[in-house]
């Protein structure tokens, strides 16, 4: 009798609710490539989520063991494919550290110019896609307009527009061409005005504030525990920038600030990156002014054979700490290459940021983490 009545209540319980599992990605307009997220939704609220990566796995680390040190630079281009210059820089920096090469000043300055311009380009791409995910479609095209300028500048420099393969162990591939300085200066002069333009559309926009303030908040402690780095960490108020903390190249010669946020929400990270854009302009201007004459390549042997040993070298890539751990057995090829990609580590905090928020916030958080899947999956 009791059983029957129980069964009956189940049947008559017409408005029964249940959680829905939604598969977001790998093909989804705003998962920035092939990120896949399994979302468990209660209505529109995220109650559980699982990030699935690996759809773009190419085995870069293993491939690196089968090519010579110089040939591996090409692979690093394809990690964070929207910021190839900084990937190059991190890798050649690691090899140079292992070999003890002193890079000439002119090459150092060119490297700084490249990596800061690359940071601008990467942040522009982030801003455009982040804003587009939240619905501000026009910002996307404005950002790409300026990014196009940087790609043109890089094209002058390296002949490529996306995968530059420009840095070499011991220096850079070519000296800067004629007109490069003027072109870059022209861009730097106009760019702060464009930043203002983006900020007009977003920073004080009521809807933008509603969508980003208090979304994806992460405390400084959690951020450090999860190994966040780059603007995502600085948004939480931790002043950690490898350019300042352990200056590589010649970053100690430049005057720039490291902006930090307070609350660690999406809006703070947005502000941090916007300010970084302005700081980048400052650094590139200084570097152009100080650019000395001289060699662009150090004296390195044709066949690069670093001494047996291991090295870890990390730089402040646009997305965070990009590190290369290289083990050498004294041969022509590295024994082991391990990459510490910022996107992959930053993605760890996704679950923490999104739990209890709404579906619409999922994409805001993916956007704010600024992940590039080429780097996550390697």
């Amino acid at each position: 009798m009791e059983k029957m009545s129980e069964g009956k209540t189940e049947d008559t319980n017409f408005f029964r609710t249940e959680e829905v599992v939604i598969n977001m990605g790998p093909q989804h307009p705003s998962t920035h490539g092939v990120l896949r997220i399994l979302l468990k939704l209660d209505g529109e609220t995220v109650t559980d989520c699982e990030v699935v990566v690996g759809y773009l796995h190419r085995g870069v680390e293993k491939l690196c063991e089968n090519k010579t040190y110089s040939q591996n630079i090409v692979y690093t281009d394809r990690l964070d494919y929207v910021a190839s210059m900084t990937n190059n820089l991190a890798y050649v920096g690691a090899v140079e550290k292992l070999m003890g090469v002193d890079v000439p000043d002119r090459a150092q300055y060119i490297r700084i110019i490249c990596s800061e311009l690359q940071r601008i380009a990467s942040h522009l791409l982030w801003l455009g896609t982040h804003a587009m995910d939240i619905g501000a479609l026009t910002v996307f095209l404005y950002c790409f307009r300026e990014r196009e300028d940087i790609l043109d500048i890089f094209e002058m420099l390296s002949g490529a527009r996306l995968t530059y393969n420009y840095m070499r162990i011991g220096g850079v591939a070519q000296d800067i061409p004629d007109g490069f300085k003027e072109r870059t200066r022209r861009f730097l002069d106009s760019f702060p005005g464009h930043i203002d333009e983006y900020e007009t559309l977003l920073t004080k926009n009521r809807i933008w504030l509603d969508r980003t303030v208090n979304v994806g908040t992460i405390s400084a402690k959690d951020a450090i525990d999860l190994g966040l780095s780059g603007p995502s960490l600085r948004g939480s108020g931790v002043r950690w920038d490898i350019r300042k903390a352990e200056p590589y190249c010649i970053y100690d010669r430049f005057d720039f600030q490291v902006p930090i946020g307070t609350k660690g929400d999406t809006y703070d990270r947005y502000l941090v990156r916007m300010e970084e854009l302005r700081q980048c302009v400052k650094i590139v201007k200084q570097a152009l002014d100080q650019l000395p004459d001289g060699e662009i390549m150090a004296k390195v042997p044709r066949v690069i054979k670093p001494p047996a040993g291991e090295v870890y070298h990390s730089i402040e890539a646009p997305k965070g700490e990009l590190g290369f751990y290289i083990v050498s057995d004294g041969g022509e090829k590295p024994y082991r290459v391990k990459i510490r990609p910022p996107s992959f580590v930053n993605l760890e905090s996704f679950k923490k940021m999104i739990m209890g928020h709404l579906v619409a916030d999922v994409i805001a958080v993916i956007g704010t983490l600024d992940v590039v899947l080429g780097e996550v999956d390697r």
Partner: protein
């Protein structure tokens, strides 16, 4: 008998003209959207088909017509077929009472506005059915969102225009415009707040940014029409733009003086010497003004779409219930008070005074909502 046949023929011709022109108008609204969007985003928009891409809408239509029509295997076929039709038909049916000029309208019924709102709200069924019948999760979420959104905003949409009805003393679309053109006072002057509220609700009703949650492309892929392709997709597309035109047309009728020329106070007439040309021009000018105002409204719609980000679902609901409804109620009460004083006071006293009071009311209303919000937050949150 011949009278009857003549009436029927005239009615059919009118319907054909309105339907045909509006269907083409819809296609060119899409073109306008792409061109304006290109202009805003510092690019050129469609340029390939015809001069400055002028034939692009036709090419698009052809493409959609020739596309393969895919039906998901597990979809509910009948509902899946019906949904786009149910979405599109009300949008076109509403055109019956839109007065394009003093002489040219399909019909004028004394409950015109009521008819519009009754019919237009049917379109939502199409979206909900599409969301449900696709048997897929993203469309389902889109359908649910739109159901909630439409129900919420229908209320404030209806309330926002009651102020106008108070002044117009009629529900007939033609009479509402006549009231404005005769007195020379467009209702936007009497109901500025009403117009703004109507416009915001109109954005929400037509699923335009910043309220395009049912089809939020970056969240729900394409929302309720994710699984649709080919002509069925085109139906949704048509319905969306048709709704935009309808909402603009209603806005123009209610607030912007319909077919009335903004320069009517100059009392410029075409010279008598033109003869038949004058008759034609006199008949066409109201249509021209009406359409121009619609295009202006559409332009603002598009402008907003390409400028603002999208609201989140809970924020959308909050705005609908906590902001718009109080505002519409305040506007409604104030409209009643205004009507009492209207024409009892001199116009140069009446208008500045009412605008000032409206502004004060808006500020007070915002204040009230804000303090109510913070009060609720303080109640709901455990004390730290």
């Amino acid at each position: 008998m011949t009278d009857l046949i003549r009436d029927i023929v005239i009615a059919i011709i009118k319907i054909a003209v309105v339907m045909g022109v509006c269907a083409l108008g819809v296609a060119y609204t899409a073109y306008l959207e792409r061109k304006v969007c290109g202009w805003i985003q510092s690019r050129v928009g469609p340029m390939r088909v015809g001069y400055h891409g002028i034939l692009q809408p036709i090419a698009d239509g052809l493409k959609l017509f020739l596309k393969e029509d895919i039906i998901p295997a597990s979809a509910d076929k009948i509902v899946f077929y019906l949904a786009p039709v149910i979405c599109l038909v009300p949008a076109f049916t509403v055109l019956a009472v839109i007065p394009w000029s003093p002489q040219f309208y399909i019909t004028d019924i004394n409950i015109g506005l009521l008819y519009i709102f009754a019919v237009a709200s049917l379109g939502i069924f199409g979206i909900v059915m599409a969301g449900w019948s696709s048997n897929s999760k993203y469309p389902l979420l889109g359908g649910l969102r739109s159901a909630a959104q439409m129900v919420s905003y229908e209320v404030s949409l209806g309330l926002s225009i009651i102020g106008v009805i108070i002044f117009a003393e009629s529900l007939s679309m033609v009479n509402i415009i006549k009231m404005q053109t005769d007195s020379g006072v467009w209702f936007i002057l009497l109901q500025p707040l009403g117009f703004i509220l109507y416009f915001i609700c109109g954005l929400a009703e037509t699923n335009r940014l910043p309220f395009d949650l049912p089809e939020a492309e970056t969240e729900l892929v394409a929302g309720f029409h994710t699984e649709y392709s080919g002509m069925k997709f085109a139906f949704f597309y048509l319905a969306e733009y048709m709704n935009m035109i309808v909402v603009s047309a209603i806005g123009v009728t209610l607030f912007l003086g319909g077919w009335g020329s903004p320069f009517s106070f100059l009392k410029i007439e075409f010279p008598e010497g033109l003869g038949i040309i004058k008759t034609v021009l006199d008949a066409l000018m109201p249509v021209f003004w009406f359409c121009l105002k619609i295009v202006f409204m559409l332009f603002v719609f598009i402008w907003i779409r390409w400028t603002f980000p999208r609201y989140r679902y809970d924020q959308l609901m909050r705005i609908g219930w906590k902001v718009l409804i109080p505002f519409t109620l305040v506007n409604l009460v104030f409209a009643g008070v205004m009507f009492f004083f209207y024409e009892k006071l001199k116009w140069y006293v009446f208008f500045p005074a009412t605008w000032l009071i409206t502004a004060i009311l808006v500020v007070l209303c915002f204040r009230f909502i804000k303090s109510f919000d913070s009060y609720c937050m303080a109640e709901g949150r455990p004390q730290e």
